[in-house]
Symmetry: C2
Subunit: 410 residues, 2 copies
């Protein structure tokens, strides 16, 4: 039994990600494969490293890709940096904070989590106090947690970590390219991301960058596998990393001039990652962040003008995703399905305590565009009206258009 | 600093893989993304499960994709099936046998390896004897090891494993679709593969299938992560799986009707995997294997007619890759570079004890075609001649053409 070719329906993805890939990325990914040690292949890998140094705003030599979704890169960072028994502090402000705890815990680390109310972020002194009392080896945090739409300020936390001698690891999958992230200036020792949010690509490749401090820890744990060892290989004195696939020492050897075989690089995803970074740098990091700011502002303003209430601390919201309360009397899932199946526009549901309470609407990457925001507001208004919600017709789109008119982007 | 768009050079990839992807696969991957819980997305996932059941020749419900290269799927199978202290037997007949040992060892398993001379395979009674003496929980083996080009017969090993109550796990990345593989008939409990060999796709997605016995073990270890738990979730009594990313219980929940969030499915790779299976089933499994047999035979016969000597036991060679001794006086790497950079044809080097001793030439997947084999023989002949090797001009291509003329494929 066979199936016909899979032809995805036309959708506009305005949820918390993944979103529509930039067609240029899909085009780059449709290029034919070349061999993994072809000089042009290794050139593409080297270029990708150089491109992502700029994306991460870092001088870190070790800036490369993990062949997995962004979740895999979190595991790679943790399993390579944390030894069983190491202490980790995780400030949790949403679902992905829990994920960091979970992964660290599976690495055998001793995890202390601190929590803040969903919809808010941490103040630096709470974190400083907690570091002083628990003395962790690593502080692990997400920059933007799509489950709550919050964006945690990192600059002061970085200063505290450096002062206290704590490794500072951040997953910035949801926030990068749509919000400021300064790896070196903020003293980040490891940052992981994915392509499927503001970087305009599909899930399946996860850029990572590592500071010298992080690399030193990892190199002490280098244990090259039996099948490719030779007499020139010297193992490090540290404990062997529990995962082979996510062993950053071996992955670094593969991305180094040694080109020691590890996995077979996912070539199409490499092409895609390369193009994602090129597109971003062509626009400019600052310009991309500004574009996300304006579109996010237009979206949020439109929603408010429609009479909807925004979720969470708006001063600490990611530019690229807005939480909005489902109005009383409206069946949130029913409306989402009408939006998706009749209007072809996807908006997001929620997890855990926010399930059925808020929708999450994104404007990110390729879809951080005025036309995408205006379509979404226009169609949401129609759906709300037809479900019996009272709103001032036309107000949302008018407000968003005012925002665009007052901004420099078009 | 930015780079121009990456444009891969025209290559014909006739090494041990990856090889040129079927252009249909690249086209499928260039389709636009849809949301991960879109009904059309889950339909595509369900179809992919049904397609790979046929590829693996199994009725196993749990047949799905791991979002990593094939190496990641090996780790997923092992970390989910093996608990620390479990005994594993690994018959090693090449580099990837060592990899299985390495990964099992990192999972905390007690690994016994048995070795056979490179270029040969194991007889079932050696394995039976070893199972009886070591009493492992799992026997782990690769079907085809590209490092030696050998194909291990599995049918009798499967019978032994079933009789002895041993879990039977096989990685068939290099062999599937080019050589017979019967998951159910051979009593395989877990099989992992990749797309980048005879399945005509890029590396980066790894199909897996699991028997009921394997699933039972994995389900006993289910521990749903904190961020997405609800009151309906019941954890299993077994020890928690050490990896979150490769936790097959959670990945199964994601691919099940529950659609419990885990990673964000690598949508483009899903599209590619779906199309790889469609292409194979359109041709037919038997027909694909026959095509690889004939092309491999034509390639091997051509190389012999050129005066080259083949490596290893030809009765147990994979159809899709041939090892050939580098003739005395020829610089193997120099010739490979001429082939690649002047003729645009990639042939493979080797690992470990075979480094500098043999080349490995593949004819697999999209490149298991007469024109690809004839081009390769013609250009290899020119390179050998120009390097001073004496050979009968035209004999290789003539022999390959005789093979094709006598076969039913064209």
């Amino acid at each position: 039994m066979n199936y016909p070719a899979f032809l995805p329906p036309a959708r506009l993805l305005m949820g918390p990600g993944p979103i529509d890939a930039d067609p240029r990325v899909l085009k780059a990914m449709s290029n034919q494969l070349i061999g993994q040690f072809d000089p042009k292949m290794t050139e593409c890998m080297d270029e990708t490293m150089a491109l992502y140094r700029q994306v991460f705003d870092t001088q870190n030599r070790w800036t490369f890709l993990i062949d997995s979704t962004s979740r895999g890169a979190i595991e790679a960072a943790m399993v390579s940096l944390l030894e069983p028994g190491d202490k980790v502090l995780v400030p949790v402000f949403g679902r992905f904070g829990h994920l960091l705890c979970e992964i660290a815990d599976r690495c055998g680390a001793l995890v202390s989590a601190i929590n803040t109310e969903w919809g808010s972020v941490f103040s630096p002194d709470v974190i400083q106090r907690e570091i002083k009392s628990t003395r962790p080896k690593m502080l692990a945090i997400v920059q933007g947690d799509t489950s709550t739409t919050m964006l945690q300020p990192l600059k002061e936390i970085g200063e505290i970590c450096r002062e206290e001698g704590v490794l500072f690891y951040c997953d910035a999958t949801a926030s990068i390219a749509g919000n400021e992230l300064k790896t070196d200036a903020w003293h980040l020792d490891a940052v992981t991301v994915g392509l499927q949010k503001c970087l305009c690509g599909p899930s399946g490749s996860a850029p990572i960058t590592l500071s010298e401090r992080a690399v030193t820890i990892i190199e002490e744990r280098r244990h090259v596998e039996a099948g490719i060892r030779d007499e020139n290989i010297v193992d490090g004195p540290g404990s062997r990393i529990a995962s082979n696939y996510f062993d950053l020492a071996m992955i670094m050897d593969y991305w180094s001039e040694m080109r020691l075989n590890h996995h077979t690089e996912a070539t199409s995803m490499l092409y895609g990652s390369h193009e994602c970074a090129r597109i971003l740098l062509e626009e400019g990091l600052t310009e991309s962040i500004q574009r996300h700011r304006v579109n996010g502002h237009a979206l949020a303003g439109g929603l408010t003008s429609m009479g909807l209430k925004l979720y969470g601390d708006q001063n600490n919201r990611m530019h690229n995703v807005v939480g909005v309360y489902i109005p009383e009397g409206i069946d949130g899932e029913r409306l989402r399905h009408i939006m998706l199946l009749e209007f072809g526009i996807e908006i997001g549901t929620s997890f855990g305590p926010l399930k059925g309470v808020i929708w999450r609407i994104g404007t990110m990457g390729y879809n951080a565009r005025p036309d995408a925001v205006l379509k979404t507001l226009a169609c949401l208004e129609q759906c709300l009206l037809s479900e019996g919600f009272k709103l001032p017709p036309g107000a949302a789109v008018a407000e968003a258009r005012r925002t665009y008119a007052a901004s420099t982007i078009s």
